[in-house]
């Protein structure tokens, strides 16, 4: 089962498509609320909606092409011949994957925050009232803002997904990709649609919590596995070619580093135990390194979660209140300065000429 469904790929794609579908649902919501005078004219409404979908579709298509090409070339060039350094490769990739997943995973639990952030961004982009578009590109993008935004977003999320997937899953066989990608897309779009249609936010949040827990279990397992592979590499080098002969038995592991060893249930080779290995990082031959790294991962994660929550409530990390406030003040000051300058330029221009100002009004509800 693990050979056709790479769990980490699923989660990466799920997360990215979730964010993308949030963006689209925000845009569609804006349109519904009358951006661009769409509430007055149904044809404009339809046109804008179509822009959104065309933009999204194009972005998605390009992502598929790039992603497919990337994966395809990688696998046809052959990932087989790692030979003696295969363990180092596996080890490093697993650790990198664990870190990537850990960093992006928590964002899924702040879906509301993600939505608000996008709403703000999009509304700012739509509000950009400077009529003197510097070049044709700017004017084009503003005219077709409703199409351009989803296109650019989907493209960026998609490339992010490809890069992350590359980071987590290049050690899996090629046939482990299609199924989780499809499932991830389906799940992400499904949730986005659910949100748009006014689904129960609480229920969605429960599902997301469950999914995130699972994701972090996988990441913890990956981290532990990474350390295990690196230790295995060192051991294989000490013994030489005979390690493979030993299978699961004595000599296949370094007794000095062993915390437990059973001559069965090999997470690399035997059936059901491979699933345990994929999800929990189970090893039939655990070392001090693999066990300690697993526990350290969870401890670090718990600390980070607490810190993040603290930051959300108080606006700053513990003990960093004054530092944070100084930074914020400086940032606000800069923003004020920019706004004043822009306003001066604006007034200077309007005094000179009588140019028409194109405006896209935003109805803020």
């Amino acid at each position: 089962m693990v050979q056709i469904f790479d769990v980490s790929v699923f989660f990466i794609v799920f997360r990215e498509s979730l964010e993308a579908s949030v963006v689209i649902s925000v845009l569609l919501a804006f349109i519904k609320q009358g951006v661009g005078k769409s509430d007055e004219d149904p044809t404009i409404y339809k046109r804008l909606v179509r822009h959104v979908w065309i933009g999204a579709g194009l972005g998605f298509l390009i992502c598929l092409i790039i992603g497919g090409a990337f994966i395809g070339t990688w696998y046809t060039l052959g990932t087989d011949a790692w030979g003696a350094s295969e363990d180092i490769w596996e080890g490093v990739l697993s650790i990198v994957a664990a870190i990537i997943i850990s960093v992006v995973g928590l964002a899924m639990l702040r879906l509301n925050k993600m939505k608000e952030k996008w709403r703000a961004k999009i509304s700012k982009a739509l509000n950009d009232t400077d009529p003197r578009g510097k070049n044709w590109f700017r004017r084009f993008s503003r005219k077709y803002a409703m199409g351009f935004l989803p296109f650019i977003t989907i493209l960026r999320e998609g490339i992010e997904a490809i890069v992350f997937v590359g980071g987590v899953a290049l050690s899996s066989p090629a046939k482990a990709f299609p199924l989780p990608v499809v499932c991830g897309l389906a799940a992400g779009c499904g949730i986005g649609y659910f949100l748009y249609k006014g689904g129960d936010y609480v229920k969605i949040q429960y599902f997301l919590v469950f999914a995130t827990c699972f994701l972090y279990l996988v990441a913890a397992g990956l981290f532990s596995k990474g350390i295990w592979f690196l230790e295995n590499f060192v051991w294989s080098n000490q013994v030489g070619g005979d390690v493979a002969e030993e299978g699961d038995g004595p000599g296949s592991y370094d007794i000095r580093l062993s915390v437990w060893h059973v001559n069965c249930c090999n997470g690399q080779t035997s059936g059901g135990w491979m699933i345990f290995n994929a999800i929990f990082g189970w090893q039939n031959s655990a070392t001090y390194g693999s066990v300690i790294s697993y526990n350290v991962y969870w401890i670090v994660l718990m600390v980070c979660v607490v810190l993040l929550r603290f930051q959300e409530i108080h606006g700053h990390f513990p003990y960093l209140k004054s530092w944070t406030e100084k930074r914020k003040a400086a940032k606000l000051a800069r923003k004020e300065k920019k706004r004043l300058e822009a306003a001066e330029k604006e007034s200077a221009r309007s005094l000179d000429t009588d140019s028409e100002t194109k405006e896209v009004t935003v109805t803020v509800v």
Partner: protein
């Protein structure tokens, strides 16, 4: 390039009736040499020379070997392989069986009579020392032997494997270590004929040569043949046999074959003679290893020395079918020792060799000295140690050894102090079944070193007519170090009453700080108290130990705790006026949840 020959036309009458004393003074020291022309290394030589000199004597002679250890950094001990040492068990030589190691700067005297003719050899029996060079032939001449007068020249030819690296280094770094879990033996670097290569064995036409072949190697059995020359096997390990016509022999380490080879009529060409490794015994064959060694039966020094022809297969003579000249029907056994051979890893990760789950660990006191200091308790096997695998045998009995080889390799086993009848030797992968025996010859072959096939078994029988402590072990030095050995204490009460340990042997113990009285632990007061004896390492833990269970439980707790924190984080409220959103637009947004206000 030495061809060493001696004419048998000595004054037969004189030597037969006059038992002489032959004395050798050996200073054991380090000597530089380069036998294969590829690599010069330091060997253990004798009296400044390597190869060490052979010992030669006539039957019934007394041999006195005065050994002084001038190595400086290693102890030593000498074993005279194949000699019965009847009545002089202390002269047999294996450390912690019949003597203590002789430390550097000390000496020991081996003083014994030789009552058996034939081809033997002497070598170090301290650790795995002899492959570092301390081995040489020991020839016993007998003018009344069965084949007297049937040959013109009596000479010897040795074969050996050869390591460029010193054995103690290989042992500690490559072999007996946890990074060698399969117990793969170090691969020799070359093969040698007479401690050399490409030798010229000078022969004259129409002569019969009695060639005593000896394998002095550490590991590999060798196939030996002489191109276009057949020969007759007349003696194995000191036992004369009916002449057996053969063209190739298979000689394991420590074995000897004496052959009669009649040379051809003409001197127009020379003929290659070849010794070739049995590469089955090597864990792997490294590229570049030359596992043959060549010489020539040199009829004509100015003729060519052709390269040996390649052969398709080894058609060697199976020594099982040899018939001793003094033939005997199979003995009727009184007592059976049954042992299973296997190799396994113990708790320190190292691969050891076992007889019946016991890997031999040397006692603190040599077993013979335990016999001499234990009075009536010497017949109780317990006092010899838990890990020495000692059997106490009666006097004038017949003992049968059944050996099942559960390993996938061939092993040459040697019994000190005796020759044995080889009753059965099975093919590969067969277990001994007394109700279904294999081939048993009418007059079984006898020798002192015999190989058992992979997965197969063999049955040996011998008479306990030689009171003494006798080692029974695999003669592959690596396996001996892994503990593939057991000890037979034969007729201990007779040893006590008839034999004496010379003072210089005890002196060697004192010089090395070894105990020389008491049980295997050195306890002289309570011989059944073995505390302090050396034991084999603990076995590998089977499955989860306490440490493993704790680790697993703790990891599960961490995972659940972690997931708990994630859930808490996920379900907690967030303020919509989070700072980031404020920054983007410069003013806070209202709490407008689209999904609720539709």
């Amino acid at each position: 390039m030495r061809a060493f020959s001696r004419l048998v036309a000595l004054a037969a009458v004189a030597t037969a009736t006059l038992a002489a004393t032959v004395q050798y003074d050996f200073s054991v020291e380090w000597v530089q040499a380069n036998p294969d022309g590829d690599y010069e290394r330091t060997f253990i030589g004798i009296n400044g020379q390597w190869p060490p000199p052979p010992i030669e004597c006539n039957i019934y002679d007394r041999v006195i070997v005065n050994v002084t250890n001038n190595l400086g950094n290693e102890s030593t001990a000498v074993h005279f392989h194949g000699l019965f040492m009847n009545g002089t068990n202390a002269m047999d030589g294996p450390v912690f069986v019949t003597q203590c190691p002789v430390p550097a700067g000390n000496s020991i005297i081996y003083n014994f009579t030789v009552d058996q003719p034939g081809t033997y050899w002497y070598h170090s029996h301290f650790g795995a020392q002899y492959p570092d060079g301390f081995r040489a032939p020991f020839i016993v001449y007998d003018p009344d032997e069965p084949y007297a007068g049937q040959y013109d020249v009596d000479t010897y030819l040795t074969v050996s494997d050869y390591y460029h690296t010193s054995i103690p280094w290989l042992m500690a770094n490559q072999f007996l270590t946890l990074t060698n879990p399969t117990g793969s033996e170090p691969i020799p670097d070359a093969a040698l004929f007479n401690d050399s290569q490409n030798i010229n064995f000078q022969v004259e036409p129409n002569k019969t040569y009695k060639i005593r072949l000896i394998n002095m190697g550490a590991l590999v059995s060798q196939y030996v043949w002489f191109e276009d020359h057949d020969f007759q096997i007349i003696e194995v390990d000191g036992v004369y046999v009916e002449p057996a016509e053969a063209s190739m022999i298979y000689i394991t380490v420590a074995q000897r074959y004496t052959i009669l080879l009649t040379t051809k009529n003409s001197t127009d060409r020379n003929y290659p003679m070849i010794a070739s490794f049995d590469t089955d015994m090597l864990d792997h064959v490294p590229p570049g290893l030359v596992w043959n060694v060549t010489g020539w039966l040199t009829y004509n020094n100015s003729a060519d020395f052709p390269q040996p022809a390649l052969i398709d297969e080894y058609n060697f003579y199976d020594d099982f079918s040899l018939v001793p000249v003094e033939n005997e029907a199979p003995y009727e056994p009184d007592y059976q020792v049954s042992v299973d051979v296997q190799m396994m890893n113990l708790g320190n990760g190292v691969n050891y060799a076992f007889f019946n789950n016991i890997t031999y660990v040397a006692p603190n006191v040599p077993a013979l000295y335990t016999v001499m200091s234990s009075g009536n308790l010497s017949t109780d096997a317990t006092i010899y140690g838990t890990n020495t695998h000692t059997y106490v045998l009666g006097y004038q009995e017949v003992v049968e050894i059944v050996l099942n080889n559960f390993d996938t390799g061939k092993h040459p086993f040697h019994l000190h102090g005796h020759t044995f009848q080889v009753i059965e030797r099975s093919d590969d992968n067969m277990v001994y079944d007394p109700s279904n025996p294999g081939t048993i010859n009418e007059y079984p072959m006898r020798r002192d070193t015999v190989y058992v096939r992979p997965g197969g078994y063999m049955v040996l029988r011998f008479k306990t007519d030689n009171p003494g402590v006798w080692f029974f072990h695999c003669h592959i030095e690596w396996h001996l170090s892994q503990g593939l050995a057991l000890v037979l204490v034969e007729a201990p009460l007779e040893i006590q009453s008839r034999q004496v340990i010379p003072d210089d042997h005890y002196a060697a113990c004192k010089a090395g700080g070894y105990a020389y009285e008491g049980n295997a632990a050195g306890n002289t007061v309570n011989l059944f108290d073995l505390s302090g004896e050396k034991l084999q390492p603990d076995p590998l833990p089977a499955g989860f130990t306490a440490r493993g269970i704790v680790a697993l439980v703790f990891s599960c707790i961490s995972a659940f705790a972690g997931m708990g924190f994630i859930a808490w984080y996920g379900l907690s409220e967030i303020k919509t006026t989070s700072p980031e959103v404020v920054d983007i637009v410069g003013e806070p947004l209202d709490n407008g949840d689209d999904d609720e206000s539709k």
